[in-house]
Amino acid sequence: MLIPHPLLGPRDAQEFTYLGDARLIDRPDPSAPDAEAAFCDYVFLRDNPAGVHRELWFHEQGDRSWLVVTRDTVTHEVLGAELARNVALSRTRCGK
């Protein structure tokens, strides 16, 4: 597989380490009253869609960026890749 790195162009998937669902960016508020339940969901529950999936890949053998890669899990087609940092920052700005 090839990952279209937003800074470095297409890179072989072997350079990356896979983590999983990009929802991991949305760490729950630890001070919320239902924090434990929210963290339980965050840590243990993932959607497992057959189709388009946003997921985190780490360019470990490269520039060490975390990417949010949009991939179709059925065809392995990669629909896009963004710097996870930018995704996270835009959510912070939008107040999540």
Binding site: M1, L2, T17, L19, L24, I25, R27, P28, P30, S31, A35, E36, F39, C40, Y42, V43, F44, L56, F58, E60, R64, S65, W66, T75, H76, E77, V78, L83, A84, R85, V87, A88, L89, T92
Partner: protein
């Protein structure tokens, strides 16, 4: 049989080879199979199950019968297909699966026992007694039914891996592939043309049809010369594309020196990973046989292959041949062989309307219903118009029609589509993106159609890539129609083979049908149809057709055969490439590795690192002697240990403290500059996962360490936290593990030793107390970092210098510390010292233990959030009352074994009475007995109790005394001296 006229062999040179010890001669350009046929050898192997005599069936990689052992000694290679083995001087081949000889095979008795050996026989026959399967039946079956033998020696050859990139990959070098490559190459695209044969041309080499009125091989030669002159095309002969992977990545194996007597310094094969923007599948088509009684005798082969042997290799299995066909193509074989003065006994065409294409006897509407000849064909039985006759012939060419080679098109689960008029599966619409089928692989069977479709496929690909290419002038070529009748199987009572390699007959398919194994997936597994090394290339469609006939349904209703990689057998050696033995994975060496080697150290692999385990000295006969001595030196004098392998991460930025606060469960932001703090990290699920030290070198600069094993993981998680969770913080990270050589200097005399290398730095306890850190210079100006931290419980430091000075530093320390008793120690002594001190390490931080369990529960700050803090408070974790304790045997000579489980004395040893386990154990020279650490239920309240450590694996148990998890200096005074 001698050679025919013509052929693409170099008769000016002779190559000597042997088969089953008998010597033969062939020519450059021959395959093993063609040379054997030219020497009159029809019998080349024995079948898998029934040990039936077999000859070569095909002239390509689909070959199911002629499997031989090639070469000798360690290079012996089983199951090579004689049809694709390129002849070389001195080639030695042996037949396989026969004893004592190919001509007389004792296990041919299996053929007489065939009524008992039908599909699924082993499921039924060898059911009982139960124990007999493993001990008796399976070994016996494996001996009797089998393929070639391995040499049982290590493979002496070398293999390589390579990466290639191109705009356009052409798979197959026949008419379609050549036209495609020409179109794209002239357009300027970067082209790779891969063909599995050693000579380009594909079927053009097998046929007599002309191109522009001239020999097809002349046209191919002209093209090869043009390709040679173009910088943008790479022609790869002997290269089989075996798989299609994601995003235009293709796997291919190139036989680099398989065809040479000696590899002479070259690799044997190369595994290529080819990334192509577009590709054309011009893999041609494979002819299929027709199943009739005794259709597997040596001499019976595919009609197209018979033509190939005659036209390309001037070889024919017999002077008198017959042809059995259900399509026009079979007639070409008769025509071409007749032109080479081979006698055509008859052409039997199953179609009543068939017409002769030459001067030979045609039996239209006929069927071959039987054959004779024990080790080679002697005659065939033909039935036509209600009459039956035996016709003498030494070879029979059979054509049941052509199956396009759609294999690669199915590698992404694309389903081929049945075409009724062509009686074949064709590529559908759901193939791998960017892969365009052309030529016979897309059922363009005439040469003219193949050329056109290849050029069109290339044009389409170039258009998609925005490369201006125009279709080249293609040569005039044969435009014959291909008409085929649906004849797969001649009804009869005797066995008729469908899958030659796995000995699957029409009877087996009928049995599968009768026993309701009708879906194609069940059929395959019950009969083993298509499961041999040829993956049923000549068998699958026929098997499906027979099942369709039995069920009264159409072929597409019955099922589809789809294919997975690899297209041909690929050896594990080439998949491994050079990554074997020491090169299996990277080996990381510490900066003092060469020095330690010089000291005679024994090394141990820790992850990718090679670390010194202990340093034996003259007279020491047991590793324990060395380890006890090394640990003793640390307790009484000073020891030196390379701790470079611990992960080091440099954390800088205005928010570095806040960032680390959120990563460690304890508080790091309040750490003063020039101080070090122990830190524990939790996973987000609340379990402890790594520990280390955190040194603050400046307001905005920390250096943190991780365990050796988790160095990569911790760094990855820290980057995740920085980029994904708290991207608004001003913090930067870099791993500096490899940049700094770090040496632990531990023991009561460590300060005295360090004083001899620091450049005017005050090491006094007041100026540089326990848990201090500083940047300084040593050895007259060498930049260094000094940390006063201790893993052993003694007065200790760790000193770091740029990695390239690590070797020099340890030499200097050893030299200057000789009078102080400076002693190098390895990971064993390191382990003993830390167990004596009760420090948690890998066995305690196993990923299933909490901060509270390792006695660090109070470290989890309640004042702030950090990774894992919320989940560490959940009931299941907070309620865990197992605690880290020290353990020592009641009997001082007794053993403590890590992994043992702990029980109250007298309690039954079951899961529900289990009270914990021993995590670490060693012999302690300080305590003078074995000691251990372990987790024990409410262990902190049970000091002084005697418990039982059970080791049921070894049938051992021991009585242990529960003590505090610290055997040395519990007050920590030595650290602070």
């Amino acid at each position: 049989m001698t050679r025919l006229t013509g052929g693409l062999i170099d008769r000016s040179q002779t190559l000597n080879f042997s088969f089953d010890g008998k010597r033969y001669q062939g020519h450059p350009g021959d395959t093993l199979a063609s040379a054997l046929l030219a020497n009159g050898v029809r019998l080349m192997g024995r079948s898998f199950k029934y040990h039936r005599p077999r000859g070569v069936l095909s002239a390509g990689s689909e070959e199911p019968n002629a499997l031989v052992e090639l070469r000798t000694g360690a290079r012996q290679e089983p199951n090579t297909r004689a049809a694709v083995v390129e002849l070389f001087e001195g080639l030695e081949a042996r037949s396989q699966n026969r004893w004592p000889s190919l001509g007389f095979d004792a296990l041919a008795i299996n053929d007489l026992l065939s009524p008992f050996l039908t599909a699924g026989f082993y499921y039924k026959t060898f059911m009982w007694p139960k124990g007999f399967w493993e001990k008796l039946y399976e070994p016996a079956i494996r001996r009797a039914a089998g393929l070639g033998r391995l040499s049982m020696q290590a493979d002496p050859d070398t293999y390589d891996k390579g990466f290639l990139h191109c705009d356009f990959l052409v798979i197959g070098g026949g008419a379609a592939g050549l036209a495609a490559a020409l179109t794209a190459a002239r357009g300027g695209a970067r082209v790779i043309l891969a063909d599995e044969d050693f000579r380009l041309g594909g079927r053009l080499l097998s046929e007599t049809g002309t191109l522009d009125g001239g020999q097809a091989t002349d046209w191919v030669s002209a093209l090869e010369a043009e390709f040679e002159s173009l910088p943008n095309i790479r022609v790869m002969r002997r290269t089989t594309v075996f798989g299609v992977y994601d995003h235009g990545i293709y796997g291919a194996v190139e036989s680099v020196s398989d065809h040479l007597p000696e590899a002479s310094g070259r690799v044997r094969q190369t595994l290529w990973r080819i990334t192509a923007k577009r590709a054309v599948l011009a893999a041609g088509a494979t002819e299929r046989p027709i199943a009739f009684a005794d259709n597997d005798r040596p001499g019976i082969m595919l009609a197209g292959a018979m033509r190939t042997y005659a036209n390309r290799w001037a070889a024919c299995p017999s002077e008198t041949v017959a042809v059995f066909t259900n399509n026009d193509d079979g007639h070409r074989t008769a025509r071409d062989l007749a032109a080479k003065d081979v006698q055509i006994a008859a052409v039997i065409d199953a179609r009543p309307e068939a017409k002769a294409r030459g001067d030979y006897r045609l039996i239209a509407g006929g069927m071959v219903t039987g054959s004779r000849g024990r080790l080679g064909l002697k005659s065939i039985e033909v039935q036509a118009n209600g009459r039956s006759e035996w016709i003498e012939c030494g070879a029979l060419g059979v054509s049941g029609g052509w199956n396009p080679n759609v294999h690669l098109f199915s590698h992404h689960r694309g389903r081929p589509i049945w075409n009724e008029s062509l009686q074949a599966f064709l590529p559908g619409e759901d193939g791998p993106p960017g892969l365009i089928p052309a030529g016979a692989a897309a059922a363009n069977f005439s040469t003219a159609d193949a050329l056109r479709s290849g050029a069109q496929a290339a044009k389409r690909a170039m258009d998609e890539l925005g490369i201006a290419a125009s279709s080249p002038d293609l040569p005039r070529a044969e435009e014959a129609d291909y008409k085929v009748a649906p004849v797969f199987n001649v009804p009869g009572k005797k066995r008729a083979w469908v899958d030659f390699q796995n000995d699957v007959t029409v009877k087996d398919i009928k049995l599968a049908h009768a026993e309701n194994m009708r879906p194609v997936e069940h059929l395959k597994r019950y009969t083993t149809l298509g499961m041999a090394t040829d993956q049923g290339k000549t068998a699958n469609v026929t098997g499906l057709a027979v099942m369709a006939e039995l069920t009264g349904r159409t072929i597409p209703e019955t099922g589809t055969t789809i294919f997975r990689p690899p297209y041909i057998p690929v050896t594990l050696s080439v998949l491994g490439g050079g990554d074997i033995g020491r090169h299996y994975r990277p080996r990381r060496l510490t900066p003092t590795n060469h020095w330690a080697e010089g000291q005679g150290a024994v090394f141990v692999e820790v992850g990718q690192w090679m670390r010194a385990q202990y340093f034996p000295r003259a007279g020491e006969t047991h590793w324990r002697q060395s380890v006890d001595r090394e640990a003793g030196a640390v307790r009484s004098a000073v020891g030196l240990c390379d701790v470079t392998t611990l992960g080091k991460i440099d954390v800088q930025g205005a928010d570095a403290g806040e960032f680390l606060n959120r990563l460690y469960c304890n508080i790091m932001a309040t750490l003063k500059v020039g101080r070090v703090r122990y830190g524990l990290m939790l996973r987000e699920d609340g379990f402890a996962y790594d520990d280390g030290t955190c040194a603050r070198l400046a307001e905005d600069h920390y250096v943190v360490t991780t365990t050796t094993a988790n160095a990569g993981l911790v760094y990855r998680n820290m980057e995740f936290a920085r980029q994904c969770l708290w991207s608004d913080l001003d913090v930067q990270l870099i791993s500096t593990t490899d940049a700094w050589a770090q040496i632990a200097v531990a023991g009561p005399k460590s300060r005295a030793l360090l004083a001899r290398i620091v450049d005017g730095f005050d090491l006094s306890n007041e100026a540089f107390p326990f848990m201090a850190c500083a940047e300084l210079t040593v050895c007259d100006g060498l930049r260094a970092r000094l940390f006063r931290i201790s893993f052993s419980g003694e007065l200790a430091y760790e000193v770091a210098v740029p990695a390239r000075f690590g070797h020099a530093l340890i030499e200097r320390l050893m030299e200057l510390g000789a009078d102080l008793g400076a002693t190098p120690y390895g990971t064993e002594a390191l382990g003993v010292l830390r167990i004596e001190k009760g420090h948690a390490a890998g066995p305690e931080l196993s990923g299933q233990t909490t901060a509270a369990m390792v006695g660090l529960g109070s470290m989890v700050s309640q004042k702030k959030d950090s990774v894992g803090a919320v989940m560490s408070r959940r009931g299941g974790l907070a309620g865990d009352r197992r605690r880290l304790v020290g353990l020592r045997p009641v009997d001082p000579a007794g053993k403590v074994v890590s992994g043992s489980h702990l029980f109250a004395e007298g309690a039954p040893r079951k899961c529900d009475t289990d009270q914990g386990w021993v995590t670490s154990a060693c012999y302690s020279p300080h305590v003078r007995s074995m000691i251990g650490l372990g987790f024990l239920e409410k262990g902190d309240e049970r000091l002084g109790e005697v418990i039982v450590a059970a080791n049921p694996l070894e049938g051992e148990s021991a009585r242990l005394l529960v003590v505090p998890a610290c055997f040395v200096d519990p007050e920590g005074e030595r650290l602070r001296e």
